[in-house]
Amino acid sequence: MTEHFTIPGVLTLVTAALAALLLVHHLLARPAITTATKVRLLFGLGVFPILTAALNTAEGMHRTTTREFCGSCHVMGDHLRDVENPDSLSLASRHGRNPHIGESNCYVCHANYGMMGYPLTKITGMKHVYYYYFGGYKDWPIEKAVAEIRMNEPYPNSNCMQCHSGKLESWRNVREHSALLEDLTSNKVACASAGCHGYSHPFSKKAREEKQAAR
């Protein structure tokens, strides 16, 4: 059971409880269909459940951006442990320690940038849920998952640059940035690579290399 309740979360429980009370009353009392019964059911089947659904959606949208949620699938266990390790120097962990994005650092870094970023990220997330429950990932041992699960497409530098803006002077003053500007914007060179800022999840690269060497 979750330990972190937000205001929409609590309100969801309150409105659901009110609706449930009215519905259970109707089921037990089985009153005649009078105006009073219709008004009670309007609240029990209409007003309160609609509020519950709206609040639950708001809470669900928020909840699905948290690190705790992303790490709740066991295949993400090593990623979660690395991010939460205060001694880890991986790019992901360093971002996880940033107080501005810490709790949502998986989402902040992996969400697509742009106007449609939010819905597109949620749709992609649905694919992850599908693969986990119906694509066999649920039964994979974590070692196999770390070595074999990879991103659908190369990580876009634009995601890094939504915070680390290339328009800032401090960014442009770095010689490597200005020299590689074109390659960075066209994604030919990755910010999160061995030669630049290091991998976000270096342990997964190591596991992949070990697996390939074993073959």
Binding site: M1, T2, F5, G9, T12, L13, A16, A19, A20, L23, V24, H26, L27, R30, I33, K38, L41, L42, G44, L45, G46, P49, I50, T52, A53, N56, T57, E59, G60, R63, T64, F69, S72, C73, M126, H128, V129, Y132, Y133
Partner: protein, 80 residues
């Protein structure tokens, strides 16, 4: 078309439909509450999809039942 709807409404079993709506509504609420209390991916997804479908069906049954009762009431009062 309107005659068909009127016929359907006159035969609509409002009491049974409302009981079914209550059960469906409770199932929807249970799923939504579960998504808050146990936010595992599949439960959250069900809470934001299937639960809303159940809730929609329950509310629709309620609306049809109210329309059927209204139809019966007005039909009864308009008779000579």
């Amino acid at each position: 078309m309107m005659t068909r709807i009127a016929k359907l409404l006159s035969k609509w079993p409002s009491s049974k439909a409302l009981l079914f709506a209550c059960f469906t509504g409770l199932a929807a609420l249970a799923l939504m509450v579960a998504a808050i209390l146990w936010p595992k991916p599949i439960i959250v997804v069900l809470g934001m999809s299937v639960a809303q479908g159940f809730g929609g069906i329950a509310f629709l049954l309620f609306l049809v039942s109210v329309a059927a009762e209204y139809r019966r009431d007005t039909g009864a009062t308009s008779k000579p």
